[in-house]
């Protein structure tokens, strides 16, 4: 009995391995695709291979295009196409929308990891964002945002928005118009949470109550809010539990003593 079961299992595993090998052998491409489909989120500690490059690029000082030729979107699109520029020329998958220009004024959120090639492929039109080009008629490249959009409220260019606003206006405007993509802060940014390793002050082997007290030292409001939730009170509406909507009547809200 045991033996037959074991044999059946070995057979199944062998078949699976064979199948996997066959897949890998046939083409190299589908295998990583299959692996990617299995795991939607990157493993712990993973960083994008081009991350370091993206960070460096974000801090590069791009020469200021002081004179730019205004060109209508369609003309520009046409010209880029005629000159043979397309999405294939985009070599970087990821852009880190980070710059000392933005950091100087406020630092509430982490920089956006912008999927540049993905957007290019979806839009298939560089001029949606890159609306101006270098003044040099021989210059073929699109200008980077930071070439013109720099510090906000520059008295020399009062009608030109700063880098932060240029990003936000373009991103949010387009996402709203196309009903696609996030339009709220946390949809694109992570919060720039201060390093709690340095903030938290606890003894080596703290008691659970000590930890709670330490959290409440800064997060007083969250503490007050927590006291009103069903998680704390063990009481209240449970809108999705059919027939048991107001069932639980005992707990910290009513008759329990534990308050930590």
């Amino acid at each position: 009995m045991m033996k037959t079961l074991d044999r059946a299992r070995t057979k199944r595993v062998a078949a699976l391995v064979l199948l996997a090998f066959a897949l890998v052998a046939r083409t190299a491409a589908p295998a990583p695709a299959a692996a990617k489909a299995e795991k939607l989120s990157p493993p712990q500690g993973w960083v994008a291979p081009d991350r370091q490059r993206a960070i460096e690029r974000a801090h590069e000082n791009v020469p200021f295009v002081s004179q730019v030729k205004d060109e209508c979107f369609v003309c520009r699109q046409q010209r880029l196409r005629n000159e043979g520029y397309g999405i294939d020329d985009i070599t970087d998958a990821c852009f880190l929308l980070d710059s000392p220009i933005i950091k100087k004024r406020s630092d509430q959120y982490m920089p956006v990891r912008f999927m540049h090639s993905k957007h290019a492929a979806a839009l298939n039109d560089c001029t949606v964002c890159h609306h101006l080009r270098p003044a040099d008629p021989q210059g073929k490249e699109t200008s980077r945002c930071v070439a013109c959009h720099r510090q906000a409220f520059d008295p020399r260019h009062p009608d030109r928005v700063g880098l932060k606003a240029a990003y936000h206006l373009r991103c949010i405007g387009c996402h709203e118009q196309m009903h696609k993509g996030p339009v709220d802060c946390l949809g694109c940014h992570d919060k720039n949470v201060p390093d709690h390793n340095r903030l938290v002050e606890l003894p080596d082997h703290p008691k659970p109550s000590q930890v709670t007290v330490e959290c409440l030292r800064c997060h007083k409001r969250q503490g007050r809010e927590m006291l009103k939730t069903a998680h704390w009170l063990w009481r209240g509406n449970s809108a999705y539990t059919m027939g048991r909507r107001k069932e639980v009547q005992s707990g910290k809200g009513t008759n329990a003593v534990n308050n930590f």
Binding site: F153, P155, P158, D159, V161, H168
Partner: protein, 304 residues
């Protein structure tokens, strides 16, 4: 002649208007507006209602923490006014504008002190606690304030608030235009610095007017051809452009006449010649005398 309170004001008012009418040459009113002030242009078509400006204002002015956090979206469900604890507030209006999916599109409006070019509050302040500075800010000096709250009555935008809860050292509270910050080279108001979409553009008022005109001209479908604050009440340092009619997003239509022009003309003509107070006191004396006489007669009549 029985003289009640209302009657008294009627008589005095009539005298004032009569004097103002005759005092044409009593020195015409001059605007005291600074020549090249700073300003702020609020573009309502850009504002996304994130309330980061409120948060920044609270931080740079060291105001008390709000009841509900700044990222709580329910705050926008109520229409608010600036208070002594919040110099600026963002309100949400549904003007009936629809997007292509027939959903109502909100318009967000940040309000704060307009920093009028010829401010009614400054004119009303009897001790000079409020002053219009060269850089455009209408500045409040708590050391001079006697707490009469005339400024609150005078302001056409109902901006100044008062610390009623504080019986010892109450202050009038309103947006300072971040006076200290913008006095420094390259300094920005807290709210304009943080705004993620530059719905608030800070700069010289004259430049901002050009910027506003250019924006309206370049995208006439997006904007109404009206810069609120360009002419209203003789001009304000904070100005607005919008895609929705201003009346529908909480702005009152206001005349181009600065308020102090009317009030100060009356006042100044009243005191321009020595004889006008003399006339006033003669008038009052006459009134007192006649009332007193009548009272006397009626008292005497009561006795007999």
């Amino acid at each position: 002649m029985r003289l009640n309170r209302r009657g008294f004001f009627k008589v005095v008012g009539a005298a004032g208007v009569a004097v103002a009418g005759t005092g044409q040459n009593a020195g015409a009113w001059h605007s005291k507006a600074p020549k090249d002030p700073y300003g702020c242009l609020v573009d309502l078509t850009r504002c996304i209602g994130c309330r980061k400006c409120e948060e920044a204002c609270n931080r740079v002015n060291r105001l008390p923490p709000p009841e509900l956090p700044f990222d709580d979206p329910t705050v926008l469900d109520t229409r608010r006014r600036p208070t002594d604890k919040a110099y600026t507030v963002v309100n949400r209006y549904y003007t009936g504008k629809l997007d292509e999916r027939s959903k109502l599109v909100p318009t967000f409006v940040k309000i704060q002190c307009m920093h009028c070019q010829d401010p009614a509050c400054v004119s009303a302040c009897i001790v000079g606690a409020l002053t219009k500075k060269e850089n455009g800010a209408v500045h409040y000096d708590v050391g001079k304030c006697i707490g009469c709250r005339y400024c609150m009555v005078a302001c056409p935008f109902e901006i100044p608030a008062y610390e009623y809860y504080d019986p010892i050292t109450p202050r009038v509270m309103k947006c300072t235009f971040c006076y200290e910050r913008i006095s420094k080279q390259g300094g920005l108001p807290g709210c304009a610095e943080i705004c993620p979409v530059e719905a608030l553009t800070f700069g010289k008022r004259s430049t901002l007017l050009e910027v506003a005109r250019k924006r309206i001209k370049q995208d006439p479908a997006r904007y109404l051809d009206h810069i609120y604050g360009e002419k209203e009440l003789g001009g304000t340092s904070w100005m607005y452009i919008s895609g929705e009619p201003f009346e529908s997003v909480g702005f009152r239509p206001l005349p181009a006449e600065p308020i102090p022009r009317l009030t100060e003309t009356i006042q100044h003509s009243l005191f321009s010649y020595l004889w006008s107070p003399a006339l006033l006191f003669a008038l009052l004396g006459g009134l007192m005398w006649s009332t007193h006489k009548k009272q006397n007669t009626s008292e005497k009549g009561g006795e007999s």
